[in-house]
Each structure stands twice: as C-alpha cells, then as structure tokens.
C-alpha cells in the first residue's frame, strides 16, 4: 500500500470519527479519491482536511447531472516536497430543483470567488455565503448559461450604470464627519494600468486606498460553454491558447492535454515529451518577459527602455516558436498523444537560433537587473509595497510567482511532475520578500531557469538517436469512459493552471472547468492593496501579472 493511499485512509477515518454523519460515500476520481460529503456539513469536512495539511483549495466546480447538481472541491497540499504532495476531492450533492450547498468560504477565503462563479454560471447557491452575487456576467443577466435548460436565444439586457460607493453605508454615521471625507473612483475597465479590462471600484481617503473591489467579467468569452460543445480530439485544442494569451499558449495546451491524456489513457512518446517541454519553457520566457516589461511600464511611464528590451527578447522567442509551430501567438501545436509537427528543418539552424538566444540571455538578465534594481525610484515603489504574507496567500489559493515571491516553493513541475521535467536539472526560484519586488525577481529568476531547461532539451534533441516519433497512435475518436472525472494541473506562467473534465462517455466533455491561477491571485488583491497608497496599488497590480483572458475565461 502506497504512502498516499494510507494517508487517504487515515484522513477518512479521522473525519468519520470527528464528524459521524458527514461522509456519505467515497468515490474514485482519476486523480484522487473523492469524499462525498453531506451538503450541509461540507464546510466541516473541508475544515478537518485543512487542519490535516490539505491547505490549498485549488478549485470549486459545479457539475450538472440528470437528477442532481454536484459541487466538486479539489484540495491539495502546498509543499515543496514531492513525497509530501497529495490531493483529495470533496463532492457535495445538491438538489435538482433548488440546488444549495453549505459554503466553504469561511474555511478558505479563496472559495468566495469560486463559489460566486459556480452560482453565476451553474446556479448552485451556497448557503451562508457572505456575498452571493454574480461575478462574471452582468447583474441583470437572465438565467445560468452552463445549465442544460439555458435558452441561449432569449433576449438579454445589460446596463451601463454609474457605480455606487461600496462603503458608503458603513460610514453613514453623523458624529464622525471626518470619515465621510472619502472619494470613490472607478479605475477601468479602460485604464492603461489594468493590463486589460479590469474594473476596480476604489475608495480613497486622501491618497490611501480604503476599499477596493475588483469587478471582472468584461472579457468573459464563454470558454467553458464552448469547450463542452466541441470534440476532445482536435476541436478543443485551439481554445486553450486564448486563455492566457501572453504567448503562454503551449503551457495552456499542455494543461488540457495532460488532463485528457490521463483520463483517456493516451501515451506520449518520449521524443514528443521533450519537444513539449522545450516549447513550454520558451512560452514561459516570453510570458515573464512581458510581465517584467509591463511592470516597468506601470512604474516608469510610457514606452521605456525595459519595456522595449523585453519586447525585443519576446520577438526572438516568438520567432523561434513560429518556426516550430507556424504561429506567433496562438500556436495550436500540441495534439493528444504528442505534437503536430516535428522540429523545423534544417534542424541545426533552428538549434543554433535557440543557442544564440540562451547564450546571450545571462548578459541580458544582468542588464534587466541593473535597470530594475539599480533604479532608486523603482526600488522605492516596489520594495516593501504590496505585502502578501505566505499564510494569506495560501488562504486565497495564490500560486505561481506570487506564492513563490512569498517564500513558499510550491511548483507543480516539481511536486507533481509531467512532460520531461523530472529528467532535467533545474531549481524552483523563491524569494522571501513577500513584496512587489520579490515577485518580479522571482520572474527574472524563472526566466534563467527556463533557459537552463531549454538548453538541456536542445542538447537532448540534438543527440537523439532513437525513433523520432512525434505522436502516438490515438484512436479516431477519443471518448473516456462514462462517469469518470479528472483534475490535473500544470505550472502555468501565472501559477497552477488546472483542468477538471467530467466525461459522459461521448466525444465531448460533459463539464470542462478551467482553474485559472489569475482568478485566484486576483481574489487576494483587496488584501494586498487596502491601506496602501494609490500609486502602490498600481505597482501591486502590475506585479500580480494578470491576464484577463484567463481571469474571465
């Protein structure tokens, strides 16, 4: 019996002892066992799991069945040790007519937004939730679109309203007149510092941010709805490119490919694994370059030198990826069971191109560091601002460079390896600063580590003497067995990018839920920004490196 299985049995026993009537059943999902909890006691079950080390709520997804709704919670252990890593699922059934489940947002603060999303798209209500409103769609929307019964052709009305001051009621006290001296401003959805279409409802007291509430959904493109109507084999693959569109397409495709390959039991040849790893790390470099460039854009001002240098380097990476996949940004390169093309010919020339880039990179990184850290102005604004304590970060489910900038070395590539990462030599970058600067430094460090991985992959591919098989034999139609479900994650450029697929035995997924890292990272934003200066809030927003295709999906 493996360590993980024993641990699962222990925890199950523990819950049964502490909460006698809370566990109804145990199901088996592809990734881990699932505890079917009593819907009114699900918060207690999750609390016990949290106390026993499952301290990271990855995602909450609502699934519709013929006779019921299900709310599925994916819990993991945040750790930098592979032996200690483990995951477990909790399922709560809800009534068909009026679905309602007890909220877990009092256990994990990060569940707040996830549950609001489940309510918005699937209409599952969470009892005792502090703020049960729609999150992605406009407040005036009619119906819950992921439901089977949703009529897509019904007319809808959306409004353009002036927004009310969210803390006005709190300050409606006559005796304390100084407290009324606040100002409400809308930042976005069109604002150069929001990196997309984020709307921040901000209340200022002088120059200090008293209250900020992110309003998202301006780029909600119905990705889950569309994926549920497309075939596994070819049709879904173009969409992941458009979740995190900052050149991180390869990693997104990998997240989908990993989940369905595990579920449908598809092998990937080793040669293709190496190419996948190479492509993913090039994507990561391009993505982090943009993050650093736009962070400098927010702090220095328009079109400065760091931004230009970062874009120059991105152009090189994009050219390499274009040679590989034929596209600059939306690659559509991975296939189930491998990749779509072999390396571009002549191979030596292409390898030379990558080598030139990686050889020049250390010098360039030195320059980036000098430009960023040698600038007193930037250091003043980045150092010691946007403090995110590791405990708070875990509470909200923050992952990626955000979490590693708070000193927690959780990296999916390390603890739950996929592709070819296990065979390669690289380090997880962490910084203890917990501030904006350390988050940017983590990204710079990761670019160097990615370059290391890229170099090793090029070496392996150059000396490859086996069969150059780019795709394994995949059946004409991919259809995992009915009733199976799987949650897997990969380390995206922004954090843990997870996919939850529920199969009903057809060629199309019954439910495809995207666990976006940016969504969880943004939910911690008010914690980071409140009590800071307005200018520091902009720096914090830049250091979170949000991409709205992924927040809103």
């Amino acid at each position: 019996m493996s360590v993980v299985t024993r641990r699962h049995e222990e925890i199950q026993e523990k819950i049964e002892n502490e909460l006698p009537d809370a566990i109804l059943d145990i199901e088996e999902h592809q990734n881990a066992p699932a505890i079917v909890a009593n819907p009114s006691r699900v918060d207690d079950v999750v609390r016990v799991l949290k106390e026993n080390g499952y301290n990271h709520l990855s995602s909450v997804s609502a699934v519709e069945y013929e006779n019921r709704y299900e709310s599925v919670y994916h819990l993991r252990r945040i750790t930098d040790d592979r032996e200690d890593f483990d995951e477990i699922n909790v399922v709560a059934h809800a009534d068909r007519d009026e679905p309602a489940v007890q909220t877990v947002s009092n256990v994990f603060k990060g569940a707040n937004w996830h549950e609001r999303e489940a309510y918005d798209l699937m209409g599952v209500r969470y009892d005792d939730h502090p703020d049960m409103r729609r999150i992605l769609l406009p407040e005036t929307w009619n119906g819950h679109p992921l439901r089977e019964e949703y009529d897509v052709d019904q007319p809808q009305y959306t409004t353009l309203e002036a927004h009310a001051n969210p803390i006005e009621e709190r300050y409606e006290v006559d005796e304390d007149e100084s407290a009324l001296d606040t100002m409400f401003i809308n930042i976005g959805p069109h604002h150069p510092a929001t990196h997309g279409v984020l709307h921040l409802k901000t209340v200022l007291d002088g120059e200090v941010v008293v209250d900020v509430e992110p309003d998202i959904g301006y780029l909600h493109r119905c990705e889950e709805y569309l994926c549920e109507r497309l075939n596994y084999k070819y049709q879904i693959m173009p969409y992941p490119d458009r979740w995190d569109y900052i050149s991180a397409g390869m990693i997104n495709e990998m997240s989908y490919a990993r989940c369905i390959e595990e579920l449908a039991d598809i092998d990937v040849p080793e040669y293709a694994q190496v190419i996948r790893t190479l492509a993913q790390e090039l994507s990561r470099i391009a993505s982090h370059m943009l993050a650093v460039g736009t962070f400098a854009l927010d702090l220095y001002g328009e079109l400065n030198v760091i931004f230009m240098y970062a874009f120059k380097d991105r152009e090189i990476v994009q050219e390499i990826l274009e040679d590989l996949s034929g596209q600059r940004l939306m690659f559509n390169y991975l296939r189930l069971g491998g990749v779509s093309y072999d390396l571009p010919e002549p191979r030596e020339e292409w390898f030379e191109k990558i080598r030139d880039f990686t050889e020049e990179l250390p010098e360039k990184m030195k320059e980036y560091r000098t430009l960023l850290e040698g600038n007193e102005l930037l250091m003043k604004r980045a150092e010691g601002t946007g403090i995110l304590e590791p405990e708070v970060a875990k509470e909200y489910g923050c992952t990626g460079p955000i979490l590693r900038g708070s000193g927690v070395g959780y990296d999916v590539r390390e603890v739950d390896p996929y592709s070819y990462y296990d065979e390669l030599d690289w380090d997880v970058v962490t910084k203890d600063g917990c501030d904006n600067l350390s988050r940017v430094q983590v990204r710079l460090g990761e670019v160097e580590q990615s370059a290391r991985i890229v170099e090793q992959c090029v070496d392996i591919l150059e000396d490859w003497d086996g069969e150059q098989e780019i795709q394994s034999r995949v059946p004409r139609s991919v259809s995992p067995p009915a009733g199976t479900e799987n949650y897997t994650a990969v380390e995206g450029a922004k954090g843990e990018l997870g996919i939850h697929i529920v199969s009903d035995g057809t060629e199309q997924p019954h439910r495809l839920k995207i666990r976006s890292p940016c969504f969880s990272n943004l939910s911690a934003f008010s914690e980071l920004a409140e009590g800071e200066y307005l200018a520091d809030m902009i720096a914090t927003l830049g250091s979170l490196d949000l991409v709205f295709g992924e927040v809103d999906r």
């Binding site: 769609l137 005036t140 409004t159 353009l160 069109h190 150069p192």
Partner: protein, 245 residues
C-alpha cells in the same frame, strides 16, 4: 490677410462632404475655391500623417498591438505611434479583442467620447464576427453591430504587419477624404426611457432610473434584425388604403 466678408460658409458644398471631415478651418475659409480644396487636402494629409491611436487593450490582439508599437515593427514610422490613454486626445480607435455584453456599453461610451473626426480600425476576427467565440452566450457578434468601422483587419490574432497594413490603409482613406458609412446596429444602446414600453421597460421599470443606458443583447443578431424590421416598418410605412381615400 483674409477678407472675412467673403468667407461665408458654402451651403452648396456641405452635402457632398462627409460631416466627419468638416473642420473649423473649412468653415472659416468657406467658398474661396482654391484655398478650400487644397486646405482640405492639407488637413486630410495632416490627419493621416499624425494619427493618435487610442490605447485600449481588450484581449489577445492587444498583445500583438503592443508588438506593433514596440521595437522591430515600430508603428511610429508611419506617423501613428503615439498612443493616448484618454479618448479625448485620440482620433484613431483600434479595437483589439472580443467584446461581450458587459463590455459593449463601455466600448460604445469610449467611442462616443473620442472627438470628431474619429476613425475605427477593428482588429481580429472577434471584432468582425465574434471570431472563435461567436457561439458564446454573451459574445457580441462584431464591433460593427454597435459602432461604425472603417477598416477590418482579419486574423486571430493578426500579425503586427497586418495591423500596420490596416493602419496604412486607414491613412490612405483619410488622405482621400473617404470614410465608411454607418451600418445597421442590431445591438442598440439607448437610455431606458427611449426604448419601446414593451421591450425593456417592464423588465427594468422598478430597478433603474429612466436615463440609465441599456443595451439589448440577443444571441442571434439575424433574428433580432428581422423582428426589428417588422416592428419598425409597420408603424412608419404609410397605410396605403388611407392614401387612396
């Protein structure tokens, strides 16, 4: 010096020039034939050669838009590289990305805030038809459904070269004094009090103020258009039997 007594506005010429091309200078010089025509040309040339695009990133295409402005492609070579953050300082609106029902009223408002003359380049398939997200329940099927578009740049996303070509085409058009006609608008954004009573008013009557801007979103614009034509035509078409009487 100009003789102001002779510089009347020529009413006769007003009709055949797009109102977007009208300017204070044109009005001032009025009917002086030689000066007017060449001044128009100069104005159009100046407009085309120093465009101020509006910095408004929506989705994937905005990454390629940044690449177009940044090093290597450098849109400034063509006199359109200074992005303005405020709509009031811009005259070229590049719309890069998917527009959904929540964003559409905002895009419309931003478009309205740009002072005349203004030009729109729509970037990517999403602003043409909804692109790969066309079947989505809240995706607006193209920018042209609620705002006029001068140039469409197809692609998902278009390469920076394609956007450059689109902007240069826009400049050519401006130099020639052309502009695109305003098209049909299935998604209308109007104040609540301006809608027909039966359409929206009942839905929102208790919740909203009469001057709230409201957009009517329908998944299939074709259906919507048909119903609107039927509704619109019937009251306005003169009833023939009464004319005969």
């Amino acid at each position: 010096m100009l003789d102001t007594s002779k510089t009347q506005i020529s009413e006769r010429r007003e009709g055949d020039v797009d109102p977007r091309m009208n300017s204070k200078l044109r009005e001032m010089f009025g009917s002086l034939p030689i000066v007017t025509t060449s001044l128009d040309k100069v104005m159009n040339w100046a407009r085309a050669s120093s465009m101020f695009p509006f910095q408004f990133g929506i989705a994937c295409c905005s990454i390629e838009m940044m690449h177009t402005v940044a090093i290597k492609h450098d849109m400034d070579r063509f006199g359109a590289g200074v992005f303005r953050n405020s709509p009031r300082q811009a005259d070229l609106m590049i719309v890069p990305g998917t527009i959904n029902a929540k964003l559409a009223p905002r895009v419309k408002r931003l478009y309205d805030q740009i002072p005349e003359p203004k030009f729109v380049v729509s970037m990517g398939s999403c602003t043409i038809s909804g692109g790969p997200f066309q079947e989505g329940y809240c995706v607006v099927k193209g920018l042209e459904t609620f705002a006029p578009v001068d140039i469409h740049v197809p692609g998902c996303p278009p390469r920076p070269e394609a956007l450059l070509y689109g902007v240069m085409k826009m400049q050519e058009k401006i130099k020639r004094g052309e502009s695109s006609p305003v098209t049909v608008k299935p998604y209308e954004i109007r104040e609540l009090q301006d809608w027909d009573r039966d359409e929206v008013a009942d839905f929102f009557e208790d919740e909203l103020e009469p001057d709230t801007l409201v957009m009517n979103y329908t998944h299939s614009p074709e259906l919507r258009e048909v119903s609107e034509v039927e509704e619109g035509v019937n009251p306005t078409t003169p009833a023939e039997p009464t004319e005969g009487d």
